[in-house]
Symmetry: C3
Subunit: 187 residues, 3 copies
Amino acid sequence: MEAKRSLLAIFLLLSFLSISTAAPTRKTRTRKPCKSMVFYFHDIIYNGHNAKNATSAIVGSPQWGNKTMLTGQNHFGDLVVFDDPITSDNNLHSKPVGRAQGFYIYDKKDIFTAWLGFSFVFNSTQHKGSINFAGADPLMNKTRDISVIGGTGDFFMARGVATLMTDAFEGEVYFRLRTDINLYECW
Amino acid sequence: MEAKRSLLAIFLLLSFLSISTAAPTRKTRTRKPCKSMVFYFHDIIYNGHNAKNATSAIVGSPQWGNKTMLTGQNHFGDLVVFDDPITSDNNLHSKPVGRAQGFYIYDKKDIFTAWLGFSFVFNSTQHKGSINFAGADPLMNKTRDISVIGGTGDFFMARGVATLMTDAFEGEVYFRLRTDINLYECW
Amino acid sequence: MEAKRSLLAIFLLLSFLSISTAAPTRKTRTRKPCKSMVFYFHDIIYNGHNAKNATSAIVGSPQWGNKTMLTGQNHFGDLVVFDDPITSDNNLHSKPVGRAQGFYIYDKKDIFTAWLGFSFVFNSTQHKGSINFAGADPLMNKTRDISVIGGTGDFFMARGVATLMTDAFEGEVYFRLRTDINLYECW
């Protein structure tokens, strides 16, 4: 009699188990990040007079533009290449933990908006490896989400979302972006 | 005797269960999309005379090219930045549901082929958020597949494949691309 | 008595099973590639005199640069578009198995480093479809890892890491990259 009750318990347990194992992979995904990090990067655009300090330069521009000044019409068509220091706090002069390298293209005439393709390349005691990003950056929004499309080294196969915030903006030469990285796939 | 038979049944069940749970994650993937959508986007290239209507512009070109006319040799080397309206049907004048923003580079001398990096940026009652794309676009093929490399908002962490079809092509100024998006990872 | 011992064994087994099934998806990921391939691609940069053989061209450059010669300062700011043959061995004259198409931008003033966005486009009896790549390429490192961000056709939904090695470098006109592709997501 006792054995029968035990058997019933086992069958119930088994039923429960088989339901949970049958659930498709996509149902088990959680929106809780497996890793979260905050960094700042600092962009100083070449303007013809700041070659020593500049970390980025205009390398493409529309017919009406040039390469030492961002064009009118919200810089539409300007392509900028950058190699910007990454810091852990919002101080340009803090010791960099890596470099943000890649490009942005201003892509809209009636408002500031850009398309970004770049990497965070780390080489510090804390992090080695890279995180790759791509996405649209509607600069005038307080926060903008782009995609983490891959990673290497410490960030092997990472995927996630990065939220950009303009933390400072000085004239058309310096800006600082706060980047909140949330990874949802960690390996 | 009955208890023994029951035990046997349980063991068989367990064996089956343990096989299915041991199966690696990658075996459970299905090629059935978790979301499918069709959109059209409309590209009007700046040619020196259409500044008002143009939605894209040449911002890089090879030594032999210029920025108001796509170059010979199948436009090899022309880099075009765009901010194109997205519509739900193939009518340029339909109410846009978002903007296609990014760039393409013609990258082959002996045939029309381009490399694309861009986003669909939605801001309608139906969709909010963005879908990011990258890939090769061999324009002369009837259909071309590129990758959905990420997404934000309604398309959080999306991955998939988008199939491009040239739906219209007028001179070297206007073209319309039909985009069939199939997502295979939805969160 | 025997039945009780059997029941105990089943419960132990069940406990073990339920632990393994409860483990979150991300724990089951393995760093063993589901597919590994090695290819070489060959880049011949246009220098004003080699239009016939060139497979790539400078299409963007900083204010101080031009389009027939890579600029000083480690080519910082030069944007190069390419359509390079892919071969299975390191011989430029072997029958190509596909084309490597996309762009690189030199993005650092004090050392050679580039950012890459490109695709392998296959059209051979062995492979059909494309593999899309993005990432930072610190050229002076013996090996550099970039991300496989997606794929189509035979490489439907692929993700992984590609390791680049400079296999040959002749002047500033020809270089050959060995590419070890390791996919960790195969569908």
